[in-house]
Symmetry: C3
Subunit: 485 residues, 3 copies
């Protein structure tokens, strides 16, 4: 037994920690092997306190402009987070009880109770890590989340959220965020971004991102009206397809002038295509007449991905794509609760042939940066790492959405590093609208990068000295390099 104890540091440690929360454990998410863990600790120490660079996400600029106080805990932390609501829904709770899609059949406190009851479901999930970390490190909760504590926690959080210490600008500062990108409609006037930029009392950079999906996808609700408005607003008097392209160019330029560094595209697939102008015009006109088929929409979207790359070569915006998601899988839920309500489901995608028309023409264009994300893990080793290991324009998008979690991140590094090394990736992307989870997400990523590097150091593949440089490069230099910050 004494021998067994001697060889059981983790267990011994675990016993010592019986009263401590996981979030309080300085070794959380680090590898179990003691030697590897020691290396990981050392690597983590070099980056844990670096500022946060968030070049892609979904926080609203107006929230930071106006320093709007946050709402109650359920409305802040549960209802808008489809990572969280989806798993509660899977356990049998109707989305109405989570006040989704503007429903208000129950009070926020009732929604919070549902969350507290469902909390054990989140063990082992990415959302679970982030929330646990935020509860402890952002909100300073000391009680466990459970059905019994639900009301007390709601009240404690609610009180904190009403205090000045929990206003967005204060948290932005406390979180040490240096850059935060938002995601914006091409016709957004970016007034909030301008106000923030010219506000001497606010030190951080809040950058817009050009997201034209709803102007490109024929099937998007309101496409025709939106396109009409785009052409009228920014088409330089041109009409039809020519005005549409011109307006896209002009609005991208407007975004550049307001600090944007990237455009973002949720295309259905990774397909790119170079149509000649007459073919593109014909498709565009067909769609405006309401006659386009689903295949027409795919072809036009592929063509517009090519066009976006062409524009990027000249205006310098970094181009990010994240294809391969079946949006709004459950129509009934979509009709009742709207988009982004937890039933966007990935499917298999391919990049090698799909991206070729675009990479043929722009893959080696000076200054062009293209970042493919995926939630189909199979393409990491097969397609994306090989592409990024040749084309100077291609940077490997960090694990995203369902893959933005410890094990998936470790699989990602294992899949891409042996082909493309450590220099070709985008850096961490939090992609979140959950502002309060931002530090937890970046911290998770830093711990996992330290864990992966610690393993390759422990396995004598990379020297400790180089690992020291590499982790700083991954965490800090990579996003600045990929996103031109």
């Amino acid at each position: 037994m004494s021998q067994s104890t001697a060889h059981s540091p983790s267990l011994a440690q675990a016993e010592g920690l019986a009263q401590k929360s996981l979030a309080a454990d300085p070794d959380r998410l680090l590898p179990a092997d003691p030697g590897t863990r020691a290396i990981a600790r050392d690597l983590l120490a070099r980056v844990e306190d670096l500022p946060i660079i968030s070049p892609h996400g979904h926080v609203e600029a107006s929230m930071l402009e106006l320093d709007t106080p946050f709402p109650d805990p359920a409305t802040l932390l549960v209802t808008p987070d489809h990572y969280v609501t989806r798993l509660i829904h899977a356990s049998g709770v109707p989305l109405e009880r989570l006040r989704m899609g503007g429903t208000a059949v129950v009070e926020p406190r009732e929604t919070w109770r549902e969350f507290a009851k469902a909390w054990p479901l989140f063990d082992g999930t990415a959302s679970g890590y982030w929330m646990r970390d935020s509860f402890e490190h952002v909100f300073g909760l000391t009680r466990e989340v459970n059905a019994e504590n639900a009301d007390a926690l709601f009240d404690e959080l609610d009180a904190k959220l009403k205090s000045p210490a929990f206003r967005p600008r204060q948290l932005f500062k406390d979180f040490k965020i240096e850059v935060l990108a938002t995601t914006d409609d091409p016709l957004d006037d970016l007034a909030s971004h301008a106000a923030i930029a010219s506000d001497p009392t606010f030190a951080g950079r809040v950058l817009p991102t050009f997201r034209p999906d709803a102007y490109i996808k024929f099937a998007a609700a309101g496409w025709a009206g939106r396109v009409q408005q785009l052409i009228e607003t920014a088409g330089d008097g041109l009409d039809g397809y020519a005005g549409y392209i011109r307006a896209m160019e002009n609005r991208r330029q407007y975004f550049v002038e307001h600090g944007a560094v990237s455009s973002d595209h949720g295309a259905r697939t990774a397909q790119t295509l170079r149509l000649d102008e007459s073919a593109a015009t014909a498709l565009f006109d067909k769609a405006r007449r309401g006659e386009a088929t689903a295949q027409d929409a795919d072809v036009f979207e592929a063509h517009m991905m090519y066009q976006m790359a062409r524009m990027a070569v000249s205006d310098g915006l970094v181009m990010t794509i994240h294809p391969g998601v079946f949006r709004n899988h459950h129509t009934d839920s979509f009709n009742k609760f709207g988009a982004d309500t937890g039933h966007d489901i990935p499917f298999a995608v391919s990049y090698t042939e799909a991206l070729r028309p675009m990479l043929e023409d722009f893959g080696t264009a000076p200054g062009f940066h293209f970042i493919p994300f995926t939630i189909d893990e199979t393409v990491f080793s097969r397609e994306i790492a090989p592409l990024a290991g040749f084309y100077p324009s291609v940077f490997i998008g960090a694990p995203w959405w369902f893959l933005d979690a410890p094990d998936a991140m470790l699989r990602f590094r294992s899949a891409v590093t042996e082909t493309a090394g450590f220099s070709r990736s985008s850096g961490f992307i939090d992609d979140t609208r959950a502002f309060c989870s931002i530090p937890a997400r970046h911290n998770t990523s830093r711990r996992i990068e330290a864990s992966f590097l610690a393993r390759v150091v422990a396995e004598r593949r990379v020297s400790e000295a180089r690992a020291h440089d590499i982790i700083v490069d991954i965490v800090d230099a990579a996003p600045r390099r990929a996103f031109k910050l």
Copy 2:
């Protein structure tokens, strides 16, 4: 050197175990890292002796009804187990020598000798683990399996198999099986199940499973005659497609009344489709005239998967599917030895779009349980976990067939947990006709669940207290919940 020994507990241990078999090692299949292993031991202790719940498998109910003595070791353990025969065949032994497909060109003892000679091929395979465990823990063998020992082992096993201690009912009790599901033809009268259920001397539950593949696949040998018989037997006097659907409903009901909790479907793909009645009738009639194409068969099968889900919503049977297998890949072997002879080979499948027609209509239907299995691992993180993390009806099928093995199980948990947590999976499925391997299979699964959980505990992602609850939930509550036991 002393330092090296001090840091080499596994090796030290291994030396101490030199005389012990692997199956005797209490730490078999547990993680190598001493700290993690200690946690795994502790977790395993909480579930190792729980009763066996086997909600899907291929044991014959009549064997338990009649308590039929087992045949000789080759006929019991080698010939019917296509996991075993396939690898012997790959090494160059003709299937005739394994007495497959009713061939009897050699004596069982000769087949056993082939197995003993081939035994080293099974190192590292799932079948190897199970057989080694069964040999030691079920049959109490102490000698190594090898060509020299073959005859002696045959005789030793044969003698044991003739003894009362090795009759099916005694083993059922010794194995601590609480529930065992069989797989049955829709027209089976389920007399064996009824006899067992009404036998006060037999404590276990033996449940039928409704498996209508041969009545749905146009290309199944004898489809037309079988369908005719189905309609006549249970069609309530209706004819054609209407009688066919009615008969399916009636036979499902008959199964429910005899204790069935699930229907099982080996569809070619995961496709579901809602045809209107006239289209379905037309296809059905075309097939009865012998004119259906392969594509017609696929469309009708997709439609029937939709229909089975519809029926499940009303009769409550859990619906399990396991698509993506090319059956009888080698026609010559199929012609000589029949189906299930080792050349069913997986191919890529997709679920996200394929299941949508069915999930659109029934995905949130109260009480509906749908369990997709796969042997295409790529869908675990990409499709199945995301689906099960939203739809209350979808439970993630445990790793199945070629994936029912330690490393594959670990990859499975790593792939699904971060998206769907621990609450959305089906629980372990042994899916076996090899009755004597059942304890080894469940024990393997429990050891691997303990190993995965021990790692996330050691990496400080899940607390030890929660892991204690989770492992009991995974092993015991999950199959009861998913299969409504």
Copy 3:
């Protein structure tokens, strides 16, 4: 702290090694867990010094026949190695500066400087491991590679490469190469191979490999002329398709007589197809008229894969395929620098249905050996291991190209072993034209095989005694068995 140190051997070790290079570390690439590492060391010791068997690669036989001195370091180690040049290119260096495609806009020394500057990019990559190992163990470099050392290292290497100790034949002997296969054009007269075979002063076996891609792919540049020459040279006076098939058979026979053991095929996909003679003839004639479509080319290639298997059954050549690579992805680079310049990019492939026509007819043919390679990892567990676990003719191709790296090799063993055990794989393939990297590549493979086996021993899945046999079988017997050496 003392406890933490006691459990941190890796870190302690790492500190002790601060002055040592990674390549000098006897534990390089071995697992971090001390117990597992000790087992791995022991396993590695059994195979580390075994002779090298290289049944597939791209070294030129004439180099060994003539014992040609190597050129300068850049021309030897950088310019021709597209693993190396691709990552330098991705970092922004034009391929001209690497003297690719016959360009000589800079001196070799300048190319070497680019390489030295880019060296940190290779941390964590397969190429990085091999080069570091070669620098230390083949060239005896003691200085680090970096921009400052670039010229000195160039001079040091250049001097060594001019010395007799670095002539190909001496290195062949020093590397302990027993068998080395080259890759050859079907019309090659194999004079170099004959000269080597009849040279009593050269002990190794240098075997040709029949690689007819350029005679099968309609779209290959110069296909028609090449085919005409093939028919005239070896068609026994027959013309057209009949002469073509006869010539293939004759040239295969010529290769067999010159020691060849295998044919190798870079088909676009894994598709096989049995066309009747008139259909094949029609396609062939269409292609000779320059009228074939891309689909015609695919069909004919699939047919020829079937034909190659048919010929293999009678002449005994082992058949290897490696489909699933989009060759020359970036046309502009191809036009300027030619093929094999770093932009061959993998895509998804499937084998189960594609190989069926061929396996139906030849899968159990006595003596037929078929080795599918892949760089789409998803097929390892899903398709290739299941196929090789049934068909005696199918051997699992070792991880190849982008997958020929430590983590990918570990994933490979994890993916295939539980289904097919350790006996069904091809043995390691270095597939390289970088002669000086051959020992490093084989050593890497041996270390990883030891690491994988050590883990399954440490996890008490395979006994240490069996692991001792298995590693020798994997490293030494497997390639001899699969390639009939």
